[in-house]
Amino acid sequence: MAIAIWQAVREWRPMRGSVGEPRGRGQGGIRWRRGVVKTPTGAAGLVMVTALLVLSVAGPVFWSGAARAMNTEAIMLGSSSAHPLGTDALGRDILARLLVATRLSALTAVGSVAVGALAGIALGSLPAMLGRRAARATAALIELLLAFPPLLLMIFLGLVTGGGTGGAVIAFAGAMAPSFARLTQTLTLSVTRSDYVASARMLGVSRPRLVVRHVLPNIAEPLLVNLSIAVGMAFMAISGLSFLGMGVRSPDYDWGQLLNEGLTRIYDTPAAALGPGVAIVFAGVAFQLLGEGAIGAQADRRPARPDDPAPILASKPSVAGGDRGSATVRAENLQVSFPAAEGVLTPVRGVNLTVAPGEILGIVGESGCGKTLTGLALTGLVPEPGVVRATRLEVLGQDPRGLSPRQARALLGRHTAMVFQNPGTAMNPVLRVGSQLAETAVVHHGMSRRAAGARAVDRLRAAAVPAPERRARQFPHQLSGGTQQRAVIAMGLMGEARLLIADEPTTALDVTVQRQVLALLRDVNSTTGASIVLVSHDIAVVAETCHRVVVMYAGLVVEDLPVDVLRSGPAHPYTRALLACALDMTGVRDRRLPTIPGRPPGPGERFPGCPFVSRCGHAGERCATEPPAMEELGRGHRVACWHPRTGAP
């Protein structure tokens, strides 16, 4: 029955943990109420709910005469133009009775939700208000109440109260109070655990004030959404009770009771039963839509498709560096764009790079410069709805965009591998480590399960995972962060990897572990000869690990240089600035640290000249108007700058 489903949804939605967490875009809590109207579902819901409200006020005023008028001449009539839903056993017009019954149905539904939600919210917010012991006791009570299904509570309360209109209201209220208590408790907990509440507590803000100022505004939104849906459910549940004869009793009548009366005549006058049925569904749908519209207003901003992207500035595709024989990767004017509410965003605006066989290439830049997407685009893993464009894109001699799934498996599955930032989530939590490694060998190399398992252990050993046999049988969460990352790298070593793309592989790890993982990557490079692309925000990590470095800024490559040139004298002012602000262990301790003023242009912004112009200390007039092209400065050293620097940084 409806209420069980309702509870199911209730339990399910807080699991998302979507509430109380900081929202990236900073919507206010009030916003959705205006936003509801903008979503089609929300607008429809609002209209329907308003209609219900108007009817419940006006219904008895206009039609109670018709609903009461008995007519012995017109008993049990079928549908006709005078009586669209027919008449009942006393000759009263059923449509008029249906319209009049709106008020009682609405009152009982709203009343029981008000009672139940209030009780539930009060109970659920107690743990946040009370001391630790009382909080634990309340939480246990809620847990206990939730163990019993709401329907059982409803029957129990129905029996104790003896049914009738009041009984039905209390029964439904009691049945849903525990769910509301749990919802409130979960939401409150997520807010009270946040750092902003911790900060307020440090300032000595009292508990009740915390609840009023921080907790309630942050949980009001989801509570209101759930209230709306609950009212819809109450319409159905109380009608259900009345339908069974356990709710509203004659001489009062609500929709459920009318349905009950109509059901006996379903053979000759189906309209008498269907009319109340439609009314009940209407109410349920109305509040459901309103609730969903509210959720939609928060979640979804319809972005435009990038079918027709704005012309994007791109540096001239350069031939330099392109003739190194058979490169592992060759990308020319690589662009990645995303549809967004504000128009098309282009985080990668035109990247040219090559990766030679056996080379470790570093891609370095600040957050948002497009380095991660560049790495993903090389192996065709840009998440939807992103669009990848390039005048030329070759990975191991093939364009990954044009491959059929079968070809992609044969080429990329065997020869490329990726390592991601967060090793804790990179592996499937419900599968054993060994089997996650082995499946690659089974799929791509047709190995037997047993042979693949042995290979997995061997590869774990090659990645310096301690006790590889035991680790292979464990689940990812049983491994430490460093070991998880080694296992992910081992996964990449299952085939004959010729290209390994590692995206911030050590950012989530401690420095001592970082050192080991970087050493492992270098080791993999020297023993297998695989090319490695190391994406990192940390110029020191890149300088220490790579042979060659590509510096990205605002979705473009600004400099491409061998690592010794990076140390001795990079030419782009941005590269030099990055080096200057890198914190190190040797410089004078109390010098003022250099910084780069301003912000890089966002992925939606356009600029006619050099993207760095507003932050650059050497910019001339030309920099603001004309984009600099990549020019070769020295052997393997190219830079996109009108005023390249020389000498030590």
């Binding site: 507590r201 420095v511 940390d538 262990m585």
Partner: protein, 328 residues
């Protein structure tokens, strides 16, 4: 400004089978107007120490003193322990600001708290606070959603300063930021220290960042402080094998690998630790570092003292108060 003294702080977290000792008798002194850095890796307990001092983590035992006056949180159900005297800027700038409140209202909350406190200077206006941390007054009207990470961190700092604390604790305030923004925040903190004479405890995992702020540094490992020394001495002449490993692992622009060069991480390189970190849930006798220690029983089998005796007992007698039986 006053000095901060922590005496034998112990924190046990969780209950039942999952219980573990997050902090094991940690003592630390931050002199008036000085800055002490606390470095360690994730799970070493450094953030827990900060949170315990301000009453956000339950203190199992130990005392917190401000200029010798006991302000231990949680004693005799006193609500807020050190009160406004110690403020902490928390790690995650994204959850540190209430998404529903404007920056101005967030700062107002702190200013009101400061007004209730006797003997403080008149609270500054929200605009003055924003100016203090290098932000535009106009930001008072916006919600945190539109701010960048660096701006949020500055607002969080302004909130902490609003109540004129005696001691400021900074928990990984720069770690999630880009290098340039990180440098800017470090510069700001140094300026504030100059103008306000702040006493600070700076918690971080990045020695390179902490080094630019702290006068002296304490190194934490598995809930214990293993070495404490003035910053230059600690970096120039580390004594504890763990400190050496930590220093050796910091990536350096000039420490490199040209193509074909030998791997700098040979078996004896200081950045390399053998073994795996110990399980914090299992109490370990002796030195907590011995399962990973490059100079302990793993390397030299007859060093059994490491598995039996707590090296902290004699730490005071060794240079840098090093908790190691074989401190070089």
């Amino acid at each position: 400004m006053r000095s901060l003294t922590l005496r034998e702080i112990t924190v046990r977290l969780d209950a039942g089978r999952r219980a573990f000792t997050a902090l094991d008798r940690v003592s630390l002194h931050v002199a008036r107007g000085s800055v002490v850095g606390l470095v360690g890796e994730s799970g070493s307990g450094k953030s827990t120490l900060g949170r315990a001092v301000v009453g956000l983590a339950p203190l199992t035992s130990g005392r917190v003193l401000l200029d010798g006056q006991d302000v231990t949180p949680g004693r005799r159900r006193r609500r807020s322990g050190p009160g406004l005297g110690i403020q902490m800027v928390l790690q995650d700038s994204y959850s540190a600001l209430d998404p529903q409140l404007t920056i101005g209202r967030t700062l107002d909350e702190a200013r009101q708290a400061a007004l209730l406190r006797p003997a403080t200077l008149a609270a500054q206006s929200a605009g003055e606070l924003l100016e203090l941390v290098g932000l535009d007054h106009a930001l008072a009207a916006v919600r945190p959603g539109t701010l960048s990470g660096g701006q949020r961190q500055r607002v969080a700092l302004a909130r902490a300063l609003a109540s004129r604390p005696e001691v400021l604790i900074l928990d990984e305030v720069t770690s999630a930021l880009d290098a340039s923004v990180q440098s800017a925040i470090i510069n700001l903190l140094r300026d504030l220290r100059g103008t306000l004479g702040l006493t600070m405890l700076v918690i971080g995992h990045n020695l390179a960042a902490v080094r630019h702020l702290a006068d002296s540094v304490a190194v934490m490992y598995a809930g214990q402080i293993v070495e404490t020394a003035p910053t230059e001495r600690l970096i120039g002449d580390p004594r504890h094998p763990y400190t050496k490993a930590l220093l050796g692992a910091v990536p350096r622009l000039n420490g490199s690998v040209s193509p074909g060069a030998p791997d700098p991480d040979g078996a004896n390189s200081p950045g390399k630790l053998p073994g795996e970190p110990p399980d914090p849930h299992v109490p370990l006798p002796g030195c907590r570092f011995h399962p990973q220690c490059p100079v302990g029983p793993l390397a030299v089998p007859d060093r059994t003292i490491c598995t039996t005796h707590d090296p902290r007992t004699d730490a005071r007698l060794r240079p840098h108060q090093t908790a190691c039986h074989f401190a070089a």
